[in-house]
Symmetry: C2
Subunit: 311 residues, 2 copies
């Protein structure tokens, strides 16, 4: 029997990401013991029913006692409260990390509270679905997905290396990045798309001239693609918006500027401008498929509503 | 042997929709003879190689001679040119229809040219993929999809009934709608989503601070969902924008208004407003799944890049 990578791992939060980690850690034998904590009694009970860990605590402080690795799997807005709560209980030499979609704000929330001898290394597995909660997780969630680590310049190299190994054994490809740059990249590839999706679904829901049942009935013509992102966890996304404000506002400005130009082209019947944009964007889809980041199947390979393949 | 529904059907245009119609008509034996016309020599040759029809013409006028049903499967901007071209060759009693995503402009383009005794009934099968051309079509494209017919008040009832039967035998559910209302409904469920998708993909492509390869690499975090719609046929979408201008501009105004409010909530840290919108939109996804318009599988049921199931 080979030694597990960590003797004891504490998961603070047991939603989609936390419960997926619990499952892959068990499958890959990455932890001698998995300790689970969440502040919701119902969620903790559910995690125990599914059998995601070895011990269960409502109190995050108790959960991290003696842990070699602590992973905060909570909405980024909860970071500082968690940091305060766990700080007095952390073992010297422990690695503390997180999974949030924003890195600067999380580092600012954690770092000042971390005791001497504890290694904080921020992380972000770029993986997820539109579902949440302990039942939504699955062991293969991180497979072939990127996990970005954003260690500070003074970070302990061994701790960073060990965390990298952890994520690799979860199936991920690990990338090291500066936290500022991470937040800018994510603002464009993830935060802006989610905000736009939330917005358009809201706009459609508010119309008086077109009924909600018509929107649903004819949604396959484009609208439904947006509803997936707009079904993502509201707390997580509220916190992302509040904690990556500058980068998001910058991307929103650019988006709105571009949209005004497009609107103007429509108003003035500038067909060439429209054709030129619509051709350029088609090329990006091809690049994405060529890079293995998307399936070439039509309609995302969706099955149609009768359960038959679309093609 | 039962009689085919139409003795002779002429398809003007043989892209995704036209070639899907040719395939389903052959499978369901809906036409005694399928005549195909397109102005591109290469496309016509390809259609003949695949064996989509019985006769092939570059000249749309020749193609419609003696046809009982003529279906214009062309970008809506080509409608008037096609109407002029085919008008002198149409048989008395023929039904002429189209498949465009805009109905008012198409009716205005066709109606004035239609000879006495020819029945024009505008139509719109709400079905498609992000691919185009004669190779992209497939016989099951219309199955369980809506097809909207927007006949004028003075339309011939028998012609409308026969066209309804045609689409039903192609697998569609048929809905009769006023053309004004159709254009408003489609502006919100289809045209706005496509325009927004084109715009966001363009915005991401234009950044200087984030590289294109980073956008592609991390696209699974949200961005890639938009690239599918933004890969749709540029000519078709240019024409939609130019021909449903008023309804689209109205929807764009509402979208931008809502986005400004959302942007303001982010700037001022109004977490409650964000949480409330994000919760409301999640409910719409559920309604859509309950209505059978979308699969409940996470991530649209996408396979991951390694070809393994995501769950």
């Amino acid at each position: 029997m080979s030694e597990p990578l960590f003797q004891r791992v504490a998961l603070i939060g047991i939603g989609l990401i936390g419960s997926s980690l619990a499952r892959v850690m068990a499958r890959e034998k990455l932890a001698g013991e998995i300790v689970i904590s969440t502040r919701s009694e119902a969620t903790l009970k559910r995690a125990e029913e599914i059998g995601l860990g070895d011990r269960y605590y409502l109190d995050a402080g108790k959960a991290v006692e003696g842990a070699d690795l602590v992973i905060a799997c909570v909405p980024v807005g909860a970071s500082e409260a968690i940091a305060r709560q766990i700080a007095p209980h952390l073992k010297t030499g422990a690695i503390v990390t997180d999974v949030g979609s924003v890195k600067n704000a999380v580092i600012k929330a954690f770092k000042p509270h971390m005791p001497e001898g504890v290694h904080f290394v921020a992380g972000h597995p770029i993986a997820g679905t539109e579902y949440s909660g302990p039942d939504a997780g699955f062991a293969s969630l991180f497979e072939s997905r990127w996990c970005v680590l954003t260690p500070d310049e003074d970070a302990d190299e061994q701790a960073v290396a060990k965390l990298r190994t952890f994520w690799e054994r979860c199936g991920s490809n690990v990338e090291i990045m500066n936290s500022q740059h991470h937040d800018l990249v994510l603002a464009v590839v993830s935060h802006l798309p989610h905000i736009i999706a939330y917005n358009i679904v809201g706009t459609a829901d508010d119309l008086e001239t077109v009924t909600k049942s018509e929107v649903i009935k004819y949604s396959a013509s484009g609208f439904r693609d947006f509803t997936r992102l707009a079904a993502s966890d509201p707390t997580m996304w509220r916190d992302v918006c509040l904690n990556n404000k500058e980068a998001i506002l910058e991307m929103l400005s650019r988006f709105s500027e571009d949209l005004s130009a497009l609107q103007r082209a429509i108003r003035w019947g500038d067909g060439d401008a429209l054709y030129s944009l619509f051709t350029r964007t088609r090329g990006i889809r091809r690049d994405l498929i060529d890079a293995g980041q998307e399936s070439p199947e039509p309609n995302f390979g969706r099955q149609n509503s009768q359960g038959e393949p679309a093609q």
